[in-house]
């Protein structure tokens, strides 16, 4: 807690914004006041544009109905890009993992975002993930599913489960090659490592 907090406490609006900002990752009371003061000292247009854009973000950006990537349209730009290889689907835990793989420029197939991972200790089972929508996608034309869930216990459990669900459909299931550290999260892995892991993926 910083001393300034007590002064912020006197203003209802400022305190409210500070609390809201602090719900964001990496934002503590100090950063929250800095951000708030920066908004206040910028031209009023900036603050209005910021709040309007945040509102638009919440109202207009939704998971793509096919892959789960965030998009302003019903179907995202990746799913609707005819140049992408639709016989390949790479399954990731979360949107940041997808972005990390995209940033490596090594992958030209499609994606499927699970929005989570099987987590026995949190009681998160298959029905909480977008697994049924994945299986529905695996009709004609899909040749290989690459499981890019993390190498944590939860990520591996998810991969095992998916393998069991997908293998009977006669589709190749592969897993990213070593290089992603055990327990590692794709989000924090550099592009060249991701590229190598994709190239060296192994069928499981």
């Amino acid at each position: 807690m910083v001393d300034g907090d007590r002064d912020i406490g006197r203003s209802g609006i400022m305190e409210r914004l500070s609390r809201l900002l602090q719900q964001l990752p990496g934002v503590g009371p100090k950063t929250a006041s800095r951000l708030m003061l920066a908004i206040l000292s910028a031209p009023a247009e900036y603050g209005r544009a910021l709040s309007k854009t945040v509102a638009d973000l919440v109202d207009k950006v939704h998971p793509c109905e096919i892959c789960g990537m965030l998009s302003e349209r019903k179907r995202c730009t990746i799913c609707t890009d005819p140049r992408r290889d639709s016989s390949l689907i790479c399954v990731v835990e979360r949107v940041p993992d997808l972005l990390a793989i995209e940033a490596s420029h090594e992958y030209r197939g499609l994606y499927h975002v699970l929005h989570g991972v099987l987590n026995p200790l949190e009681g998160a089972g298959p029905e909480q993930l977008r697994i049924d929508t994945l299986v529905e996608r695996l009709g004609a034309g899909v040749r290989e599913v690459i499981l890019a869930t993390s190498s944590s216990v939860e990520g591996e459990a998810t991969a095992l489960y998916l393998k069991k669900r997908i293998a009977p459909l006669g589709i190749t299931v592969s897993r990213l090659a070593a290089g992603i550290p055990v327990g590692g999260e794709l989000e924090y892995t550099d592009s060249s490592t991701i590229g190598r892991a994709l190239a060296g993926r192994k069928e499981i």
Binding site: G26, P120, L121, G123, G125, A157, K164, V182, G183
Partner: protein, 241 residues
């Protein structure tokens, strides 16, 4: 390692079970963000050796370093084994209070994880683990005689209010929800005398009874137990008994 969750942007909170230390929580600074800091050494079910520094103000220890002794790769390669390991780990984590020192509980869990690394546990072993754990934390259930009158046999039994044991038909005439067959199996498990064949219904009754006993001691529902059961039902019925 019993549990872990993210703590802020870059740290992790880990719950560990030490043979001498008992159960304790610690902050692992940088474990989320930096690959070099702890690598894959802070993983569920892993056996590790840690250097922890006690921080005075918050009372939360900080992990300094961790050495991986056994990652239990065999468990991680099998979904049911993973779910079983998660269940046993959660059971210990929930029933043991912070800083309860119990080398026996440590050995019980370590042995079970060791076995799980090679093979899935049968229902018999799971139930035996539950009874052993209850005993080690001081809640040894009594299945041998009626806790009121001491009689040994009865057509129906009921779980005692405090759930430490059973009451016979005569002492608790109204309730009587437990079958004699289930009580017989409980006695055999407790004595570690395997029975030849037990039907699924009786085994399910035994599972429910022990679950009720555990639930009487914990303050939140066990998530991994539910997970294991649902998964087992979906994948392979014989594991759901």
């Amino acid at each position: 390692m019993l549990a872990r969750r993210d703590l802020g942007e870059s740290d992790r909170l880990v719950v560990l079970l030490g043979k001498q230390m008992g159960k304790f929580s610690a902050r692992a600074p940088g474990a989320r963000r930096s690959r070099r800091r702890f690598g894959g050494r802070l993983e569920l079910f892993s056996r590790i050796e840690v250097m922890a520094v006690l921080k005075g103000r918050t009372g939360l220890a900080h992990l300094d370093d961790a050495v991986l002794l056994d990652a239990h790769q065999g468990i991680r390669g099998d979904l049911i084994a993973t779910a079983q390991a998660a269940y046993l780990t959660e059971l210990v984590s929930c029933l043991l209070r912070e800083a309860d020192r119990s080398p026996e509980v440590f050995d019980l869990l370590a042995d079970a994880l060791q076995r799980l690394d090679r093979e899935r546990l049968g229902v018999w072993s799971l139930r035996r683990f539950e009874i052993e754990l209850l005993k080690l934390i001081g809640f040894a259930p009594a299945f041998d005689v009626c806790q009121e009158c001491g009689v040994r046999s009865s057509e129906r039994w009921s779980l005692q209010a405090g759930m430490g044991g059973l009451l016979c038909e005569a002492c608790a005439p109204r309730s009587g929800s437990v079958s004699a067959a289930a009580v017989n199996v409980l006695r055999r498990i407790q004595a570690d005398e395997p029975c030849e064949r037990v039907d699924d219904a009786t085994m399910a009754e035994v599972r429910g009874l022990l679950a009720a006993m555990v639930d009487g001691l914990v303050d939140r529902p066990l998530k991994a137990r539910d997970f294991l059961y649902r998964l087992a039902c979906e994948q392979d019925r014989s594991w759901a008994r």
